[in-house]
């Protein structure tokens, strides 16, 4: 059995910030991440981030892991990093089981845990949605921005949230033609500055539209879309056919936090936070003592909020096991203010409504 003071599960924006924050307070930290390298989804985000200076606004997402890892390196005596390692179980006695590189299996017993496991993509049901050429937006970003592979030549983007809009823009930057962006909602869900920059490239955005079916023999050849009414029912006779070889599904994310449910944390379904999330207090501690959550695992939001949640959860987790720095209250207040500031506008109204439902 491996011993650890704080285990951070997931080395994306929230996890890296949680680890840094806890190590800064003096706690020993073990980061477990299933990927080959740290950074989570940041490694695919070629666009500049929103927010303010403290959340690295105006810096491209792909450059943020390096900044965070450099900062984390200051505490290298305190931090151990395990990549290629998946936390596969989290048991009632507080033990975490880890599978490293599919051949090493071991147990860890930490004093406190920050679960920062992120989210997974939702998919859409329609006839032939399993044809090759139909991808989730995350896969398209991984192909393009991590491996430098064009996913196809002509894309229909399904979903006009921030991810759908950003990935459309990135596809165009990669030289891929985007035929249209559609969304079943009557309004564009993502930031309108993103929508405008795609629209002025000549790409139509079709709100109140959904996918009727995909057509193709061995791979996607055509996509049929149609209009929907206010109740999201397809309107017959409104079909449009697009000749596309890629359909990119970007219809939202769901928090990935089965480990917390397994450990016995009280979970609640909150639509505004995009799914099942743990009930937690203002320090991001769940209903199980010393088990914290941060980032999309606690409710789907922007990466800027995920980073601040990580700082806050890491600070509070360290304090709970005896590492309470002199400036604890100052730091905690700063992180809380940053979160309030990020969430105070109309773009985050649903987040506040969601948070009201899970406050311990």
């Amino acid at each position: 059995m491996k011993q650890a003071e704080i285990v951070v599960i997931g080395g994306g924006p929230a996890g890296l910030c949680a680890a840094m924050s806890a190590a800064k307070s003096g706690a020993g930290v073990l980061i477990i991440d299933r990927n080959k390298s740290l950074g989570g989804q940041l490694v695919k985000q070629t666009h500049m981030f929103f927010g303010s200076e403290k959340q690295y606004a105006s810096t491209r997402g792909i450059d943020i892991p390096e900044i965070l890892l450099k900062e984390l390196a200051k505490y290298k005596d305190k931090v151990e990093i395990k990549t290629n390692s998946t936390a596969v179980g989290f048991y009632e006695d507080g033990v975490i089981t880890v599978l490293e590189k599919e051949d090493k299996y071991y147990k860890v017993e930490p004093k406190a845990v920050v679960v920062a496991t992120g989210a997974y993509e939702k998919f859409l049901s329609f006839p032939n949605n399993d044809l090759p050429g139909i991808y989730g937006a995350g896969a398209v970003q991984t192909l393009m921005n991590v491996h430098g592979v064009k996913p196809g030549n002509r894309v229909l983007m399904v979903g006009a949230g921030n991810i759908g809009l950003i990935v459309s823009y990135q596809l165009m930057q990669a030289g891929v033609k985007v035929a249209a962006i559609l969304d079943a909602a009557p309004k564009i869900g993502g930031y309108l500055v993103h929508a405008s920059k795609i629209r002025r490239m000549g790409v139509p955005i079709l709100t109140s539209h959904t996918v009727k079916e995909a057509i193709g023999k061995d791979f996607l050849e055509k996509a049929v879309v149609c209009k929907v009414d206010e109740k999201f029912n397809p309107i017959p006779g409104t079909e449009i056919t697009f000749d596309v070889d890629v359909m990119c599904i970007s219809v939202g994310l769901t928090p990935l936090n089965e480990l917390l449910a397994m450990r016995g944390c009280r979970m609640k379904y909150v639509p505004q936070l995009s799914g099942l999330v743990p009930v937690r207090d203002e320090n991001y501690e769940t209903t199980v003592e010393n088990i914290f959550v941060a980032g999309d695992a606690s409710g789907v939001e922007e990466a800027s909020a995920a980073m601040v949640e990580g700082y806050l959860a890491g600070l509070c987790a360290a304090a709970k096991i005896g590492y309470k720095p002199d400036d604890f209250y100052e730091r905690r207040k700063d992180y809380m203010n940053q979160l309030n500031n990020l969430r105070s506008g109309p773009a985050a109204r649903h987040i506040l409504a969601g948070l009201d439902q899970i406050r311990r």
Partner: protein, 162 residues
Amino acid sequence: MFEKTGIPSKEMVMEKFPSQDRINKGPVAIVECYREIPCNPCETACRFNAIRVGEDINNIPQINFDKCTGCAICLSKCPGLAIMIADGSKSEDTVEIKIPYEFLPLPGEGQVVKGLDREGKHITDVKVLKVTNPKSFDRTPVITIEVDRKFLYEIRNIRVEV
């Protein structure tokens, strides 16, 4: 409609523009940020305190056209690529417009490219005067184009045909 299409109306665009007099005096920034989002790098980037967002970073940036020098630092820093610069001091018939352009190939200086409006429609051909892409712009090249004055409120993008 803006919420459905991403295309701001003419009235919305006009509201963000300074007077013709101000444009004729020299370069000035036009910040096309129409909806409140949590973001303030334009304010942080401005060395002349010409852009104010304020304590609540969701506020829509307010620009003081008298303080703005049109230096274009904010243009490269805006994550939404929502800022352009207009300069009407060089000629009576044309204006110089600076826009962000993050696509390859970049146009060459002197090249004539397609001028597009906010829908991406080709409205006129424009001449590229300058391509600025220093390290500090962090891979957001800024293109200066010469545009017929009558397209001042329409021009917003270019297409480089290969």
